[in-house]
């Protein structure tokens, strides 16, 4: 499965705003497919944002987070040109990492 992460980080003053869009089914385990079988749960459990080796946000997600999750947050101390790292792991043990430069 191709796991895509789109990250966009911008700095205004001393605040860096990070927007990330992650491609993931986020199946809750409550939905049935067309033939009536339950689609097994498949969702991101832990997502981590790092900047310069420092974790700037850790998210714990349950099955109630929407498909193809979007998250926006901001932190202080990021500078243009520095890379933002984003990494997640889901309940099936799949994971993905990505980086984006702050602009």
């Amino acid at each position: 499965m191709v796991h895509q992460i789109l990250v966009h980080a911008t700095t205004t003053g001393d605040t860096t705003t990070v927007e990330a869009l992650i491609k993931h089914p986020m199946d809750s385990g409550f939905v049935r497919d067309k033939s009536g079988r339950i689609i097994p749960p498949h969702y991101i459990e832990v997502i981590e944002f790092t900047c310069q080796g420092k974790t700037v946000l850790t998210g714990y997600w349950g099955p109630a987070v929407s498909k193809n999750p979007f998250i926006k947050f901001s932190f202080k101390g990021g500078k243009p040109g520095q890379p933002i790292g984003i990494a997640w792991v889901d309940n099936k043990g799949e994971s993905a990492v990505s980086t984006a430069k702050i602009v």
């Binding site: 714990y60 109630a64 947050f73 901001s74 932190f75 790292g85 990492v97």
Partner: protein
């Protein structure tokens, strides 16, 4: 067509070369992001996400279940969500010593939707999108100096979004 065409070894060589190329292609991106490791799944508070009642979910996630309703925690969520599968929820807080935050949907099968660990320097204003099974009260919780501060909002769901 009487003589067999000796294609065997050649085909094997081609496959081998393709496999080597593919391996190199896979290796390159993983090297580029080698400095970022996927987060440790052992830190996941799985118990908190399996709770169907508010208090046990809060207890498992934050270590306390006492909520204090306050205007210092702001939340933005739609009054009416046409599609329960994608409900944008934004929270923010003007409080000292914030370490964690979370969003709860009281009538969802599992109460806790998402939670965040907020280190110093990171703003407690976080936007994301959650699923709501039906019309429910959504509570934004912020942990400030160990105490849980919250704001609740009723969100009417016209189309359930367990999916």
């Amino acid at each position: 067509m009487g003589q067999p065409i000796p294609t065997g070894p050649k085909r094997r060589d081609v496959l081998r070369a393709v496999a080597a190329g593919a391996a190199a292609g896979i290796a390159l991106p993983s090297l580029a992001s080698a400095e970022i490791a996927p987060p440790a799944v052992s830190s996941y508070p799985a118990k908190a996400f399996r709770q169907t009642e508010k208090d046990p979910a809060l207890q498992a996630m934050f270590g306390t279940a006492t909520l204090t309703d306050t205007a210092d925690v702001r939340m933005e969520a739609p009054d009416i969500a046409e599609n329960g599968a994608v409900v944008p929820v934004t929270f923010d807080a003007n409080l000292p010593g914030i370490t964690a935050a979370g969003v709860l949907a009281l009538d969802n099968p599992f109460i806790l939707a998402c939670a965040y660990k907020i280190p110093p320097g990171t703003s407690p204003a976080i936007s994301s999108r959650i699923k709501l099974a039906k019309t429910t009260q959504v509570i934004s919780v912020i942990q400030s100096n160990g105490k849980l501060m919250s704001t609740a909002k009723q969100v009417k769901v016209t189309l359930g979004g367990c999916g």
